[in-house]
Each structure stands twice: as C-alpha cells, then as structure tokens.
C-alpha cells in the first residue's frame, strides 16, 4: 500500500544533542511537509519542499532544518533541541500544492 512512513515512532534525546527525524513516502508526491504538534494544540507547519524547492515558514526557529535528498525521503534536523522542542512531529505529502495532504504516523520527541 502507498503510504507515508516515519522513523522512529518515538525518539528520546538529551538537551542540546542533535537529532534527525526521517520521513519517506511511496506515493511519489511532489510536496513534502513537516509539522510540529504540541500537546492539546493543532499541528503547526514548519516548512515544506515542493520538489527540491525549500519553503520555510517565517516563524520556524533556525534550530530546525530540513533535507530532501530525493523524491521519496525528507529529514528534519534539530540542531540543538531544547525542552520546548518536545512535541509530536508529523510528516505529510501531497501530489501538488493546494491538494489533499496525507500524514504519516508521527514521531514523538522527548527531550531530557
């Protein structure tokens, strides 16, 4: 089945220790998104790739970066995680901008 896959499902890191979250898709979609969701809040868009074009949201901290080495994979790098970065991180894809988005199962990040 075509799907969006995120690894790991749960990630524990230490304050200040870099961490990378992974997303892959078998849908062959052009657009990949990263969202952050904190407890009892709605998902918040961090950035997205349209093919190889990177689009950063204005309020995304510099601490968060992303890489998309090919159509199938996209990574979220948190350079120096703080306690406030503990959250669920959701990856999504869409065939094109403004079309239906499909979400992966998420990675729950804990920062100690």
């Amino acid at each position: 089945d075509a799907m969006v896959i995120q690894n790991p499902r749960y990630q524990v890191t230490q304050f200040g220790k870099p961490v990378t979250l992974s997303c892959s898709q078998t849908l062959n979609h052009n657009v990949m998104y990263w969202y952050q969701q904190k407890s009892s809040q709605a998902p918040k868009l961090l950035f997205h790739y349209y093919d190889k074009d990177f689009n950063n949201e204005a309020d995304t901290p510099d601490n968060f970066q992303s890489r998309r080495p090919n159509t199938s994979f996209c990574f979220l790098d948190i350079r120096s995680p703080g306690l406030g970065d503990a959250a669920m991180y959701l990856c999504a894809t869409s065939r094109d901008q403004a079309l239906e988005q499909f979400f992966g199962p998420g990675t729950r990040l804990t920062v100690l």
């Binding site: 969701q37 998902p43 079309l99």
Partner: protein
Amino acid sequence: GIQVEQSPPDLILQEGANSTLRCNFSDSVNNLQWFHQNPWGQLINLFYIPSGTKQNGRLSATTVATERYSLLYISSSQTTDSGVYFCAVLFGNEKLTFGTGTRLTIIP
C-alpha cells in the same frame, strides 16, 4: 488573519449515539479536509471536501462553501471513534490552516 473555528470543543457521547461536528471558516477555500487524530497521535484522513457532500460508511461530511462552513456527521458511534477531530482549510496557495479541534469521547 484566517480564522477556522470548530464546535463543540468537547463532546462526550454514549456508544451508539450520533453526532455533528462543525467547522466555520472566514474566507473562500480551495481545500478543506477532515482528520481524525487517534490516541496514538496519527492524523487519519477522513474527507477531502472543498464543497458538496461525501459519505464513507458511518461518516459523512458536507461543505457549504458559499456559507463558509463544513459539517462532519458520525452515526452509531463506536469507542474507536474517540479522539480529536480537526478540520483544516487552505486559502489560495497559503498553508493548510487547522481548526482548534473537537475532542470526542465515546463511552461504552
């Protein structure tokens, strides 16, 4: 700014009951999606419905774009329907904007 409001914020129902969740938005939309976020945090697509009516089993949705609202109907609720329901809308080529969600609890 863009406003997306959902009501009610919380809903507690007995198993077997029916429910209607509402999503109001402040501008014309290109895209409207309904999601169910399960207790494990996964966002599950329910409907992609910028306008019109769709049905999928016990769930159905209606979007009246000219009046800027969408409704999600859940019939014969089951405990597995518990979770948070989000509507999310897209205006032009802007980012998908999520509503505040409705937390649904189904009691056996």
